[in-house]
Every structure is written in structure tokens, then in C-alpha cells.
Symmetry: C2
Subunit: 473 residues, 2 copies
């Protein structure tokens, strides 16, 4: 078996030339055949072989009785069976010189001592043949660029947006069967569920993604860390080049115990993890929602040069809440220059203070877009502003796309922007969301998340500088 | 002027028999005529008069040159003009014996010393005639039961759900022109924007809502508190009968300064507010989103008898996160009885621990609804469980309405439930959201908010007990 530090071999999970999918085909929503359908749907260009002795064909696919019968080479196998037969199948894959296996099957270390012993047999078989294993108890991977998707569940959309954010999690909820990646227009490079981590673990994956040219931002949900020292070493190296954003559940004894029956994760001390990760330059978030929504800001927006926040808001009350969030998260309200205030007042006399509240002028302004555009322009171009929060009113009476593109162009100032929008119709808010994301303007469902995203951008400028100085010295 | 403690007079803002709307009619989206259209749309049954000397009629409405020319009595006037003319209009309303006025117009204390002096003139005129004033700088009120809605902006829906939650805010964002109350199926009694509070203030409104038979839950956004001692006294009294949930922005000097240009609110010390409010039995929340989403739980769900949380989850990872949230917020994971565990295992062998993870059994179960129903039933009926979090997968392949109704029936156990759902399509999640709310099952967009709602329910049981003991002794 190659050393688990040979992470270049992980490429085979994401960009295989040929894939064998072994296992159950009895449900319309779940199984080996669903993996094959998903791969087709997502535009995977390599060979796909189905394996199950009980079938001759499924859909357009010929079905082979065993991997041994597959005529060509197989880079990657995906196993969607019951747990008992997995060690034997790994043996067969070894004989066939399959380089990597995703074990979707569950019922291993997460399910008591019997499962744990089965997992040991699985690992022994893989070691014998030098086969890399992801899982067991995983939905595997999605590569937005190659279209390789090992997910065994029906996926309710046909594509995801290609981009530079990689998500790694110790839960299947990260997969496209569960997350509305398409609707959210999330710019994805790779998604990976680590499952029980019997071989490939979080440090392998982090090291690999650190080198991955498709990936600019790495977001990880980690229930446990198998080798803390190695993870910290790898994180420190990767974080000097790319932001590493981590959600670490299991803060209490009760949740740590629950992790064990979820992925077989062993308890660690949360406070120790937290302090070590911060030391290593990891950006910690507090909720799964933050883990999903914050990384895109790093993909889309420039890093700020300082922590002075500009706020242009359509709700004065929201402006106040944004300041609260900003100061809690290490940003401060920018002091606008007197020239900026003059320019704002010349647009409308009600806009004489910061946060810039366009609300009062809105109903009396003949052209709300001019009001918007003018105030954004003044605030983003003020030399005392490093980043900006924009709050918007979402309604179908407004041209979402044009507004999104105008905000997008503010990037020319070299300063990052985040948006919170609300409105009387959820559909309109969602459509505005999509338009903003299409234009690479990060949208958030709450003020606090938008501000936190900007705060983490700022925090990362310090982390990167510190880590690079450390490397250079 | 009646004492500001005579809060029964506030009824006139919410249930007037006749309303005069005075002011601008030049924009299709904003103005006096829009107030009249909104009232019609929301089913207001009283008399509506429009007032503007420049018009003879607008739509189906005759327009009067002045309130003096209105033939019948006028209970409530709504003023949507520029600030300068407001004191004079208040005089006219006084002469007409109008009992209460909503001053929508802005440009008063929130806009420097000139505005402040105008506001003083407004107050003097109102005092002279004993007219109660809401505002200025407000969108006024919405009464879901009477259909009285003084909002000067176009409202993009025709009704809100009638219910028992009252929202009071010092920002117009709380209004139906901005919030998707209809889509959210929020069970509203009354909504009120306090604006600059030149007369009616937060204590008046709280005292009034405390007595209001339509209102069971009170949610308030307060930038400042005019009379701290009175508010605390009123809050303590009301909280012994109805939950009072407060968001208090202005935690920092910067945000307090911003409040001043928003509503003319004067700075106070946040820590002092916080501690006094907690003493008074107020439930504090941290974000506007929480202020919106948490109150409905009090309207729909029973109070728990203890803090032992049951969790039935379709994502094991989500179960772990829920425990983290629970312990942060004062709940603890229930220890299921051995009979419950036996019953769960008999449904599916993978469900042998708590949180109950239905995920592994989901794809292999012939009937996922039986799996759902069985596990909810076991957990909610376990004597060691006081409240339950249910996480769900939202897809159009599932009968949203039936699932919602099944969860709704769990209320027969006398224990509260909160739901978090996610899914591959935002539309499906939103439709599930609506179905759950229709069935009075509270839906949340994040695990943490769902858990916090249950935690506040539990906290309120203690508050109420303590306050009632205090009153009794």
C-alpha cells in the first residue's frame, strides 16, 4: 500500500478514466446503477461499468457479473453493497489492479464491534493490493470539472457550477443528493465525504486539495482528526496558499459520543482542536450554514487591505445590526471622508451619515437604481473603506440581473463586497440570490453571515501574511 | 393628552372604524392612496377617506381637500407627507377630533436639530388636542384580524395568516412591504413600527399587547428604551402571562451612534439593558432572523416539562451538530429508555442509538414514511424526552402535506417539536416549509435556530414559574 502521504494518488478518485460500480440495483432512487446514471448526467467522459451477477443490463448499461469480467482497465471502483461482502469485493478489485475504491456501504466501525472487525478485514484486503480506499460509509466524491460523481442516490439536478471551492465532510449531507448546489450556484471544484476514513483521511485530502489546481478555497467539516500533528502541519502549509475553513462539531461529551455512532469517530478534546487549528491558520466557523455560505466569498471577492467596513443599506435598522455584527467579528465601521459625505448628500440630503441609509430616499427618488449606484460608488471608492456590506430589497419590479452586474463591477475597486437581501416574496429573494451569485456577488440570508464572511476575508489576510513570513524566515 | 399609561387607547391604531389617509399620491408604489389600497386588499371593513387638495378622486376613492371636509367621524389619520406640513395637519386632525395619528413622514428627530424641533412642534400640537401619535418616521401598523394596515408602500400580497404573534420594531423592515409574511405563513396578530416614538413608545405598546386578547406572543426589536424602569416593570408583568422576546441592537458605541441617525434613539448601555431585561423575564435573541422565526414556536407548540431533547434525524452529521447547539443553549440529549431502543431496533437495526439516525435505513426501507412515523412515535412517547428536534429531507417525491400533518399530531404527546429540513431544490424546501407551517409545525432554515427555539421554550417555563411565584408571594 502506498504511504498515506502519497496524496497525488487521490487524483484517481476525482478524475478516473474508468469506473466500475458494483452492487445493488433494486431501488429506483439508490444503488450502483444510480451512480452510473449520475455520472452520465454530470457529463463524465470516461468508461463506466456496472457489476452485479443478477443482471445482464440496466438502462443502456451492460452489467458484468464481476469486476474480473470487465474487458478494460478499471481505475476506480464504487461499492454499493451490504457490508459483509465488501472485503471479498476489495480482493477482487485488487486482483483486477483497481487503483482506488469508494466504499459506499455502511455497517462498519460506526455500527459496533462486529462492524469494526469487518472494517479491519476491508483494510487488510486493500493493504494487500495497495488499493486506496475512501470510506466506508460514504457517498464518495463529486468532481465538478470531470463530472465524476460516485453518489449512490438520485440527484435532482444535472449539473453544478464549476468553480474553485472544495467541500470535504464527514457526513453525506454534503452531497448533491442533499444540498441545493445547483440552485445556490455554488462554485464547486470538488466535494468529498470522508466517511469512516479507514484509509484516506482528512490530512490526505487537505494535502491533496492544497496542490489541486482546480481548488482555491477549502471548506471542511471534521468530526474527528485521525492524526492531529500531521493535520496541523498540513493545514499550516496549505493555509499559507489557500484559505482553509473548518467546522468542527463535537464540542461536548454528548456530541462526541454521537459522532462515534455516526462515523466511528473517536472523541478528542474540542478546546485542544480549536486552539491547534487557530495556531495553524485555520478559519473556524460555527455552523454548517456558515461552512456552506462563506467559502464562496474567497472564490469571488478580493481580500481587503484593512478592517474598515462600509455599509450601504436600504434598512436603517439593518445597518445598526450590521455594525453590531462587525464589531463582534473584528471589523469596524469606516469613517467616510467629508468629500464622500458631500457627494452622498448631493445625491439625496437624507444620506448624510454612515451607514449610508438609502431607505428614506427610496420612495421619493425617481430612479432607485441611480440612488443605489451612486451610493455604492461613493462608499466603495472612499479611501477609508476596505470592504462593504450592501443590503438590498428584492422584488420582481427590479432588474435583478442588471443590479447584480453593477455590484459585480465594484470589484474593480479592489475591495470585497457581500450582500444581504430580503423581500416580500421568497421566490423573488431566491431569484435575486441566483442573479447575484451568477455575477459572482456573494449573497447571504442573514446580515450576520454576510458580515462574518467579510470578517473572515480580513482575518485571512493576517493569517496568510503570518504564515508566509514564517515560511520565509 | 391622556397619560401615556392609558394604553387601552392604542386599540384605535389597530381597530379603527374610520381612517383618513392624508398626503402624496404621485407614485404608484408609495403614498396615501397606497395605504387605502392596502387596507382594501387586506379586508379592512371600516370607512377609508383619502385627503389631498390636489386630487378629486383616485381609483374608486373620492379625495377630500382636508380632513375638515370629511363628512363622518375619523378615528385614525395616517399622514404621508413631507415633514414640514405635519404639525399643521396634526392641528387639523385635532380640530376634527381624530383620536390617533400615524405619522409616516420622516425627516424629524432622526435628521438633526431642525428635524428635532419640527418633532417638538408635532408633539405640542398632538398634546393640545389629546391625540395619540405613532411615529413619526414609521410605516405604522398592521392588524391581521381587522385588516387595518397603514403601510404606505405597495404590498406584494393580499393577506397574512391570522394568528397570535405580535411584532413590534423600531424599523420599517418589520412591515409587510419588506417581510415575506405570507410565504412564511407567520401566524400574526399585530405588527407595529414604533418609528421615532414621539408619543407611543415601547412600554405603551408592550402593556397594550399584554392585554390584547389576539396576542399570545410578543416579539420586539428595540433600538432604545425611553423609560427603562417602566419598561422593566411592564415586561415583568406581561412576561408572567405571555412570552416577551426581544432583540436589542446597539451593542457598541458605533452602532448606538448609527441608531441615532436611524430613529433618533439615544445611546444606552447595552450591558445594563441586557441584565435588566433578563431580570424582568425577557427572552433575548441575537439576530433579526431569530426574532422572526422563534416566536411562532410559542404560538404553535406546547411548553416542555424539562430540558431533555430527543433527536430524530435523517443526517447523522446534523444530529451531532444539534447536540452541540443544545448543550450551548441549555438543553441536554435525552437518554432513551431501553424499551424505546428495542422498539427502534425492531423498526431497523441501524437505529440503536440516540440521536436516532434514520439515514442509513432510508434507502433500504421500503416505506420511508413508516420509518419516519415509527421513530417519531417512539421518541416523542419516551418518558425521558421533553421536546424533540426532527430533521427532514425535502423532496417533491415526498407528500409534504401528509408528513407535516403527521408531525403536527405529535403535539398530542404534550411535547414541543421543531423541524429543520434541507434538500437538493430550494423550491422543494420552501414548499415543505409552507406545508409544515400550515400544519403548525415550526420550520427552521438552520439546526441552531430550531434548537434555540426549543431551548427558549424551556427557558420560558422557568421564567413564567418564577414570575408567577413572585406575584403570588
Amino acid at each position: 500500500m502506498p504511504s498515506s502521504k502519497d496524496t497525488s494518488s487521490l487524483d484517481i478518485f476525482f478524475k478516473p478514466d474508468s469506473v466500475a460500480v458494483i452492487g445493488s440495483m433494486s431501488s429506483p432512487f439508490f444503488g450502483a446503477h444510480v451512480v452510473a446514471f449520475n455520472m452520465k448526467k454530470f457529463g463524465f467522459k470516461g468508461q463506466i461499468y456496472l457489476v452485479n451477477p443478477k443482471y445482464k443490463s440496466v438502462g443502456d448499461f451492460k452489467v458484468y457479473p464481476s469486476v474480473r469480467n470487465i474487458p478494460g482497465e478499471v481505475d476506480l471502483a464504487v461499492i454499493v453493497t451490504s457490508a459483509e461482502v465488501v472485503p471479498g469485493l476489495i480482493e477482487e478489485c485488487g486482483e483486477k489492479r483497481v487503483r482506488a475504491v469508494v466504499v459506499v456501504a455502511d455497517g462498519f466501525a460506526e455500527r459496533g464491534s462486529e462492524g469494526a472487525s469487518l472494517q479491519r478485514r476491508l483494510v487488510e484486503a486493500a493493504r494487500k493490493w495497495g488499493t486506496r480506499v475512501l470510506g466506508p460509509n460514504t457517498i464518495g466524491v463529486l468532481d465538478a470539472w470531470s463530472g465524476s460523481v460516485t453518489n449512490p442516490y438520485h440527484i435532482d439536478y444535472e449539473s453544478v457550477r464549476r468553480g474553485s471551492v472544495a467541500f470535504v465532510a464527514q457526513t453525506g449531507i454534503i452531497g448533491p443528493q442533499a444540498m441545493s448546489f445547483h440552485d445556490m450556484r455554488l462554485p464547486l471544484s470538488k466535494v468529498c465525504d470522508l466517511g469512516n476514513k479507514c484509509d484516506v483521511d482528512e490530512s490526505d485530502m487537505l494535502e491533496y486539495l492544497g496542490e489541486d489546481p482546480d481548488t482555491k478555497v477549502i471548506a471542511m467539516h471534521l468530526e474527528d482528526v485521525k492524526d492531529g500533528r500531521r493535520f496541523i502541519r498540513v493545514a499550516r502549509k496549505v493555509a499559507s496558499e489557500k484559505p482553509v475553513i473548518v467546522l468542527k462539531p463535537g464540542k461536548t461529551e454528548e456530541s462526541a459520543k454521537a459522532m462515534q455512532s455516526h462515523t466511528g469517530a473517536m472523541m478528542g478534546n474540542y478546546a485542544v482542536y480549536e486552539s491547534a487549528m487557530k495556531q495553524a491558520g485555520v478559519l473556524l466557523v460555527d455552523t454548517f450554514q456558515e461552512l456552506l455560505s462563506i467559502p464562496k466569498v474567497f472564490a469571488y471577492q478580493p481580500l481587503p487591505r484593512g478592517n474598515r467596513l462600509g455599509i450601504v443599506t436600504i434598512t436603517g435598522g439593518g445597518g445598526v445590526m450590521a455594525i453590531d455584527a462587525a464589531s463582534r467579528m473584528g471589523l469596524r465601521l469606516a469613517k467616510l471622508s467629508s468629500e464622500s459625505i458631500e457627494r452622498l448628500v448631493s445625491i439625496h440630503p437624507s444620506m448624510a451619515s454612515h451607514p449610508v441609509d438609502v431607505g428614506p430616499a427610496f420612495p421619493v427618488s425617481g430612479d432607485p437604481r441611480k440612488l443605489y449606484r451612486g451610493s455604492w460608488d461613493v462608499v466603495l471608492n472612499d479611501k477609508n473603506v476596505d470592504a462593504a456590506l450592501i443590503t438590498l430589497y428584492a422584488t420582481r419590479w427590479f432588474p435583478h440581473k442588471e443590479i447584480a452586474e453593477e455590484i459585480s463591477r465594484l470589484r474593480e475597486t479592489g475591495k470585497p463586497v457581500a450582500v444581504w437581501a430580503y423581500g416580500p416574496r421568497i421566490d423573488d429573494v431566491i431569484n435575486f440570490y441566483k442573479a447575484l451569485e451568477e455575477a459572482e456577488v456573494p449573497f447571504f440570508f442573514t446580515i450576520e453571515e454576510a458580515v462574518k464572511a467579510l470578517a473572515l476575508l480580513y482575518r485571512y489576510t493576517h493569517i496568510r501574511e503570518k504564515l508566509r513570513r514564517h515560511v520565509a524566515s
